[in-house]
């Protein structure tokens, strides 16, 4: 009954000339609630410990690269799901070298950038199938090949030779965490200085 009514009204308006209504603007609020749920897990509680370094072992005018540390990341979903992982640098602005995949290691005395670290994926496997990493910086509209976990972007997984995210139920990947200390001549190292990097991983549903 309401359909007939709406058609009738539309016919009346069409013959009369619909109100131009330029004095108004439409607002749309969109989104989707998905029944899918994914959980992320990191081995070793997500803790990467580079151990103790002596200040005199640091290079004064070049970055000092730290030995790679390994972690494993698992993302488990209740069913096959299109998702991406978003990383948020909780020490944003403290990375001594700005790049889309560098994360901060904290500040000395509130001003000196200690260094940076990166997280690269190695051999991601989605539901027992090898996949490769892809990244998007526009909220998931376009993707490019990328094996590092990116800051301020989304990291997802595609079939080899493609760039579109594939639905995954269980993703397992090794993570290689590489770090660098900034040239030591710019750092105040009279006291013990902790490497303080912190990143939060969140699942984003696509």
């Amino acid at each position: 009954m309401s359909i007939t009514r709406n058609l009738l009204v539309a016919a009346l308006l069409a013959s009369a000339g619909h109100a131009v209504a330029a004095s108004s603007v439409d607002l749309s609020v969109k989104g989707t609630i998905t029944p899918r749920a994914c959980k992320t897990a990191l081995s070793n509680g997500g803790l990467v410990d580079f151990g103790k370094l002596s200040a005199k072992d640091l290079r004064p005018d070049q970055p000092t690269y730290l030995p790679r540390q390994n972690l494993q990341m698992t993302v488990t979903c209740d069913a096959s799901t299109l998702f991406a992982v978003a990383l948020k640098d909780n020490r944003a602005g403290s990375e001594s070298n700005q790049d889309y995949y560098n994360f901060g290691l904290g500040l000395i005395n509130g001003t000196e950038k200690l260094g940076y670290f990166t997280v690269a994926m190695s051999g991601p496997v989605a539901d027992d199938v090898n996949v490769r990493g892809i990244a998007s910086f526009d909220g998931g509209v376009t993707w490019e090949r990328e094996s590092a976990l990116v800051d301020d972007g989304l990291t997802s997984f595609a079939d080899m030779n493609t760039l579109a995210p594939v639905p995954v139920q269980r993703l397992v990947t090794d993570l290689q965490v590489a770090g660098a200390i900034a040239p030591s001549q710019g750092l105040t190292l009279t006291n013990e200085v902790p490497l303080d990097g912190s990143v939060t991983l969140t699942v984003r549903y696509l």
């Binding site: 009346l12 308006l13 009369a16 000339g17 619909h18 109100a19 131009v20 209504a21 330029a22 004095s23």
Partner: protein, 375 residues
């Protein structure tokens, strides 16, 4: 010594001969019984007749000598128990508390003067064509004075309550003391007034479109404005059948094909028509009393024939009287309703801006009168 009483009685006898039957007196405590203005605002129980009321009066009949005090009531009969109160009503008389010469008596119902009573009791329904006579021990008795109570009850047929003009019922009968030559007229009255219904409109009857920007109106074709709701309410003091129609007070100013259901919005400074509007009634947005479903019916004259009651919306017109019915397809017209509330839709259309003089103020000025007619 013995002579004196004889002389006395002789003189008394002489006195008695001087009295005639004309000297009896028949009185009613009221000669007019007024049931007043009948109140229709009662719960609409489906009774065939409505009791207008009961009134009491007393009757006295006094004669100088013991006489047959039989009384007859002359009135148009309505059946065997009641009398006619116009063609659409009736009344009854009940006699009780009879006293003959100060002593309580029974009353007997006689089918004719001198005939034996068909029943007797202390309280008696005074039937048409029957008389009442004082009785003792089953035998009619005569006396000099009779007093009794009369209870008058009146009824009106249910359909008599529904009037469109004030109506007064006025009838009378005659109490006739046949053996005395005395009689008295008893007058009965009742008044019926039509129910009063008051229509009202939401927001004081004003639909205000406010300021409309030229940017929001088409230059070379009409612009339909968003429909506006207008609640039409009718409150009656009792269920009443009525119809509604809308008269245009801006006749001749409506754009578009001249149609009974379009109303004008006035003229601009160059006497050009600004636009038009319709008022659409929708049974789906209507409630009346506790009816579960409503349908609209219409008539070009406000009387039969009425269109088949429909659930579809309909625009009201000057010659399109609208009413509500409770059964789909019914053609008997609007049903009695006490409280009506319907949300109508006012659909306005503005003329193409190109046809208007925008150099002066263009003020929408629609004015119409919603009229409620009793059926």
């Amino acid at each position: 010594m013995g002579l004196k009483p004889a002389l006395l009685s002789a003189s008394l006898l002489l006195g008695a001969n001087a009295w005639g039957m004309d000297e009896c007196q028949l009185n009613l405590s009221e000669t007019a019984v007024d049931f007043g203005l009948v109140n229709r605002a009662v719960s609409p129980i489906a009774a065939a007749e409505h009791l207008l009321g009961e009134r009491r009066l007393s009757l006295t009949l006094n004669c100088p000598t013991p006489t047959d005090l039989s009384l007859f009531y002359r009135g148009l009969a309505a059946g065997t128990e009641r009398f006619q109160f116009t063609g659409r009503g009736s009344y009854s008389l009940r006699a009780s508390d009879a006293l003959l010469d100060g002593q309580p008596v029974e009353l007997g119902l006689v089918p004719g003067s001198g005939q034996p009573p068909v029943s007797s009791a202390t309280t008696l329904r005074w039937r048409p064509e029957h008389g009442i006579v004082p009785m003792r021990a089953g035998v009619p008795v005569i006396g000099r004075s009779l007093s009794l109570q009369l209870e008058v009850s009146a009824w009106a047929r249910q359909d008599a309550l529904r009037v469109s003009d004030t109506v007064t019922w006025d009838t009378s009968g005659v109490v006739d003391a046949v053996h005395t030559g005395r009689s008295r007229e008893l007058r009965l009255q009742a008044r019926f007034a039509p129910a009063a219904c008051t229509p009202s409109l939401s927001n004081g009857g004003t639909v205000a479109f406010g300021k409309l920007s030229v940017m929001d109106l088409n230059a070379d074709k009409e612009t339909a404005l968003p429909p506006r709701p207008l609640v039409v309410s009718v409150a009656c003091d009792a269920p009443t059948a009525f119809s509604l129609r809308l008269q245009d007070n801006r006749q001749g100013s409506a754009t578009g094909p001249g149609d009974d259901t379009t109303y004008g919005l006035g003229l601009d400074a160059q006497q050009q028509k600004i636009g038009r509007y319709r008022l659409v009634f929708d049974p789906a947005r209507t409630t009346a009393d506790s009816f579960p479903g409503l349908y609209r019916t219409d008539s070009p004259t406000g009387t039969a024939p009425w269109s088949s009651a429909s659930a579809n919306p309909l625009a009201i017109g000057a010659s399109r009287f609208l009413g509500f019915s409770t059964s789909a397809g019914n053609t008997s017209g609007p049903v009695p309703i006490q409280q009506l509330s319907t949300t109508t839709s006012l659909e306005a259309v503005i003329a193409p801006l190109g046809t208007l003089d925008l150099g002066s103020e263009v003020r929408l000025d629609g004015a119409a009168t919603l009229e409620l007619n009793y059926l």
